[in-house]
Each structure stands twice: as structure tokens, then as C-alpha cells.
């Protein structure tokens, strides 16, 4: 009997120790490229076979690749501008979503108390009425602001980007010509400077506005999550040394939340970049439209869309890798997403303390 069991035990044992043995090798990191290289090889061979079969015109891709850079720049710059404006708007929105509920619901701080006997003395006095009225007003304003922020976020999340785009475009195209001259001039200047193809600038403006309004809603929720995931204990500790709400936010909540939201915000940029393709419905010459034109006008639809996919991958993967790299280099132990190599054995980055 033992003879029969033994080999199996040995195999299981080997499997169990395998990860440990592998662990040190993973440090060199080259294995992670094997999968990528394999994928690229398969892809390349596939493309080659299609090319040999005459289905795919590879020289076309090489020849026309450069025509994609302009539209890519357009999409990247439009997305990034909207993203940054969206971030600036999402900050107050996220703050409102995270913190206002405590400022008007009964469970919150609003229930400031006057001792009973003093309450009885104060009842109905002008001061008491004034204080109560001020408190009610503040509470009401807070509730209204929260409702506004929530309504906005739900509105953005609850409707398709496509629909939002049409709403914004029809609205803007209707009113744009009545905007002040300096504004229209500014827009012309902006989009000319960015080197966009000469389409009436209200199209770019409407596109930018759509992207901005959309991403502001999503980023607000990301930021709210970030703010709320900073431990209540730390906030209490900060209060206990005498820090005020604003200081606590600036020195504790915000820096920690920012680290926690780097990856979700990267996701958001990538989503927005892809949503940008939908703007090609209007004559905004970003990459999707460019590829369609390449495909239709020059009769190479398959090649055009292979180029399109490759360009998206190039931009998104480059961004993703850069963010991961930066994040790893600036990581603080115990905060945010752990590295690929989790646990204390991993390299905590350059911030590692000299001794433990």
C-alpha cells in the first residue's frame, strides 16, 4: 500500500513546493513577458497567414499608419482636457457625496445639545430662535446640495453616453452662436492651437463638454469612495490633537484617498478615451472616424480596424504601465493596493525604512 501512495504524495508535495521554488525566480520578472511574447507571436503569425492568403494587405497598414497620429492626438488631448476639468469638478461633488449626509441627518453632528435646564430657560428667546433658524437653514442647504450632487451623479451614471452626447450636441448647436464673441474666439484659438482639423468649433466644444460632464459624474463617485475609505479612526486621532475639518481633509483624507483612487481614475481615463470614439458620430475626426474613412474610402476596412485596435492598445497599455510604474515607485507601505508580490517579503519600493 505505501508503495502505491508514495508517488502521489511526492507529486502533491512537488506541487505544493512549486510556488515557493518559483517565488525566487519570479523576482527576475522575465516569465511575465513569455505570455505576452507568445500572444504577439500567435497574433503575428495569424496576420502573416491572412496576408499570405491575400485577405490582409499588410503594406497598407505600414503605409497608412501615420495617418492615425493626428486623430489619436485629437482623441487623447480631448479626453485629457475633459478628464482634468472633470477631476476639478468631481472634487467638490465627491466631497458633497461623502460628507454632506452627516451634516443634515439626525445621526450626524447637527444635534448639538444645550443642557436641559438651559434649554428650558432659552426656549422661545430671540437668541434660541435665531440659533435654531440658522441651524435649520444650514441643514436645509446641506441637504439640497447633497440632493443636487447625487442627482447629477445618478443622471450621468443612469443614462448612456450616446444619449448624453446627443442631448449636449443639440443643445449646444442651438445656442452656441449666441455665446459672447470672446468665448467663440477663444474656442477657435484653442482648437486651432491644438491643431484640430477645421470643423466649426462648436462641434469640438460640444464634444469636450459631453466628455467633461460625463467624467465629472464618474470621477465624483470614485473620489467619494476614496474619501470614505480613509479610516474613521485616523480622522478622530487628527481631531484629538486639535486639527480642524479642513486641515484634516488636506493633510490626511486627501493624500490617502488620492493614492487609493489612482487605479480607478486610470480606468476612468481609459473608459473616457474609448467613449471619445462615439463623438465620431458628429464630424469630429478622431481615430474611429479616421479608420472608417480609411476603410471605406481606400477600400481596406479590415486593415483599418486592425490599425484602430492596435492604436487603442498602444495608448491604453502605455498609460496603464506608466501608472503602475509610478504607483509602485511612490508606494507607501500599508497604504493602497499591494504590489504584485504581496506580503512583507515584497519590495516596498524606495521608501523602505532602513531597519525594521
Amino acid at each position: 500500500m505505501p508503495d502505491r501512495i508514495a508517488p502521489r504524495v511526492r507529486i502533491v508535495g512537488a506541487l505544493r513546493t512549486a510556488p515557493a521554488a518559483f517565488g525566487s525566480a519570479v523576482r527576475t520578472h522575465w516569465q511575465s513577458f513569455v505570455g505576452l511574447v507568445a500572444l504577439l507571436t500567435v497574433g503575428g503569425v495569424g496576420l502573416g497567414l491572412f496576408a499570405l492568403a491575400g485577405i490582409l494587405d499588410l503594406p497598407f497598414i505600414v503605409r497608412r499608419w501615420d495617418s492615425l497620429w493626428g486623430p489619436t492626438w485629437l482623441a487623447v488631448s480631448l479626453t485629457t482636457t475633459a478628464f482634468l476639468l472633470g477631476f476639478a469638478t468631481a472634487l467638490p461633488l465627491g466631497l458633497a457625496r461623502a460628507y454632506l449626509p452627516g451634516r443634515f441627518r439626525k445621526t450626524g453632528r447637527a444635534k448639538e445639545f444645550v443642557p436641559f435646564r438651559r434649554a428650558r430657560d432659552l426656549w422661545g428667546t430671540p437668541r434660541a430662535i435665531r440659533v435654531t433658524a440658522a441651524r435649520r437653514t444650514r441643514s436645509g442647504l446641506n441637504a439640497a446640495a447633497y440632493g443636487l450632487a447625487t442627482g447629477y451623479v445618478e443622471g450621468v451614471r443612469g443614462t448612456p453616453f450616446y444619449v448624453q452626447m446627443f442631448l449636449v450636441f443639440y443643445l449646444i448647436l442651438g445656442v452656441y452662436r449666441s455665446f459672447p464673441g470672446w468665448f467663440q474666439g477663444g474656442m477657435v484659438f484653442l482648437f486651432n492651437t491644438l491643431g484640430y482639423p477645421p470643423v466649426p468649433e462648436e462641434f469640438y466644444f460640444a464634444g469636450l463638454l459631453t466628455l467633461f460632464l460625463n467624467t465629472a459624474g464618474y470621477q465624483a463617485e470614485v473620489l467619494r469612495g476614496g474619501f470614505q475609505s480613509v479610516g474613521q479612526g485616523q480622522i478622530e486621532a487628527a481631531r484629538s490633537v486639535g486639527m480642524r475639518g479642513r486641515q484634516i481633509f488636506r493633510r490626511i483624507t486627501f493624500p490617502q484617498a488620492l493614492r487609493l483612487v489612482i487605479l480607478p481614475l486610470t480606468n476612468e481615463w481609459i473608459s473616457l478615451f474609448k467613449a471619445c470614439a462615439i463623438l465620431s458620430t458628429w464630424p469630429i475626426l478622431e481615430i474611429l472616424l479616421q479608420s472608417q474613412q480609411l476603410g471605406v474610402n481606400e477600400g481596406h476596412p479590415l486593415e483599418a480596424f486592425i490599425m484602430l485596435a492596435a492604436m487603442y492598445l498602444l495608448v491604453d497599455v502605455t498609460l496603464g504601465k506608466t501608472v503602475t510604474y509610478v504607483e509602485r515607485k511612490t508606494r507607501i507601505p500599508g497604504l493602497g493596493t499591494p504590489g504584485l508580490r504581496t506580503g512583507t517579503a515584497g519590495r516596498p519600493g524606495r521608501r523602505r525604512a532602513p531597519t525594521l
Binding site: G231, G233, Q234, S240, V241, L335, A353, T355, L356
Partner: protein, 241 residues
């Protein structure tokens, strides 16, 4: 130093503090014991105004600190607090953890704050760990950083809310040692703790809290050896085993 008179606190229908009276003189160490849910933590948090009492007075050197006219930040600067869960700022090194209150609240300049913070960390025996992040420190070391952070503000009173309850047994000693030395140096402190050895050696007075009321007050010996109240007896026999 601190006088608490007729302190009441409700959480909804729950009467957490039911008329607590307490006095603590300067350079005295007061230990608060009691079953969980008896209101010990709430009492400390009221004194630090992290929780607003619903009725009663808290006097710090004769000033009624729970008056609406008094800014809670003013009070909290003067009353240090140490939490069960340490609550260090995760994104800051030990040094920065201690410095933050000095630069933000006391408005000290960076170099002065750094000197002071280093001195405080040295005082709790962590002079060699100033650049470590909380995640790189043991529980005991983290709690000592938290103590240094509170001490750096030069508080008149220190509040300890079960400072050793979240620690592995091996690290309890080092934290209690720091606290005992503080008491020796004459720091006024209120400690919620079930460390009987510590209470016996360090506390001048022991208070037994149950269901939001103080049932018994006395020296540690009196309470541990001759508890007068039935509930105190039951509780003490449980924790002394």
C-alpha cells in the same frame, strides 16, 4: 484639574452615561474599569469632546469646556488622547505623525517641530524608528508613536482608551512601561484599562463604571481586595480570575 459633574449621554434611547461625577487632581493617575458597554470609552471621548455630552459639566482647570462658546479644537489641544487601535496616519512616517499636530495646530515651523517630534519619539524609546511607516512597526511601537503624538502637544491631561487591548501580549509591557514612566513624571492621566498590575502600581485612584454610573471609587487595593458593591465584586473576580 478635571471635574466632571452630572454627565449624561444618550445614543438614541440608550443611556450611555447616567450622571457621572468625577474629579482628578493634577499629577494624579485615574484608572477606569468596568464591563464592556459600561460607557468607559464614551466618558473619555466626552472629556475630549469627540462626543458631545447631552447634559452636565466638564471643567478643565475651572473652565467649562463643553460650553457651546468654547471651540472643541482649543480643548483637544490641551487634552491628549491615545486610542485602542493606535489610529496612526498611514501615509506618514512616525516622525511626520508626531509633527503634524505641531505644524498644523501649534503652527510651529518645520525644524522646531522636527526637533520636538524627535525628542518625543526618543522619549518613548523610538529614536531609531523615526522614518518608519506605521505598517513597518509592531503594534507596541505603533502605540508608542501614538503616545508620542499626543504628548508632543504638551497636553495638561492624557486620556488612554484601552491602550493595550489591541496588542499582542509580548508588546503590552513596553507600552505600559511608557505610561508608568509618564505617571511618575507627574502627567495627569485617565486610563481605561483592565491591566490590573498597571492599575495597582500606577493608579492613585480606581473607578468602577457600570451601565453609565460610577458604582465605586477607591484606591486600587480597596477595589481589588475589598470591593464594596456586588457588581464590582463579580466583575473584579472575573478579571482577576
Amino acid at each position: 484639574m478635571i471635574t466632571v459633574r452630572g454627565l449624561h449621554k444618550w445614543f438614541g434611547d440608550l443611556h450611555v452615561l447616567d450622571g457621572v461625577d468625577l474629579q482628578i487632581a493634577q499629577r494624579q493617575a485615574l484608572c477606569v474599569i468596568g464591563p464592556s458597554g459600561s460607557g468607559k470609552s464614551t466618558l473619555l471621548r466626552c472629556i475630549n469632546l469627540l462626543v458631545r455630552p447631552d447634559a452636565g459639566d466638564i471643567l478643565l482647570e475651572g473652565v467649562r469646556i463643553n460650553s457651546p462658546e468654547i471651540r472643541p479644537e482649543w480643548v483637544r489641544q490641551r487634552i491628549g488622547m491615545v486610542f485602542q487601535q493606535f489610529n496612526l496616519f498611514t501615509h506618514l512616517t512616525a516622525l511626520k505623525n508626531v509633527m503634524l499636530g505641531l505644524t498644523q495646530v501649534k503652527k510651529m515651523d518645520r525644524s522646531a517641530a522636527e526637533t520636538k517630534a524627535k525628542w518625543e519619539l526618543d522619549r518613548v524609546g523610538l529614536g531609531d524608528k523615526v522614518h518608519a511607516y506605521p505598517a513597518q512597526l509592531s503594534g507596541g511601537q505603533q502605540q508608542r508613536v501614538a503616545i508620542a503624538r499626543a504628548l508632543a502637544m504638551d497636553p495638561k491631561v492624557m486620556l488612554f482608551d484601552e491602550p493595550t487591548s489591541a496588542l499582542d501580549p509580548e508588546f503590552i509591557r513596553e507600552v505600559l512601561d511608557v505610561m508608568a514612566r509618564l505617571a511618575e513624571e507627574g502627567m495627569t492621566m485617565i486610563v481605561v484599562s483592565h491591566e490590573m498590575g498597571f492599575a495597582r502600581e500606577v493608579a492613585d485612584e480606581l473607578v468602577f463604571l457600570d451601565k453609565g454610573r460610577i458604582l465605586e471609587t477607591g484606591t486600587p487595593e480597596e477595589i481589588f481586595e475589598r470591593p464594596g458593591h456586588e457588581r464590582t465584586k463579580a466583575f473584579v473576580s472575573k478579571i482577576l480570575r
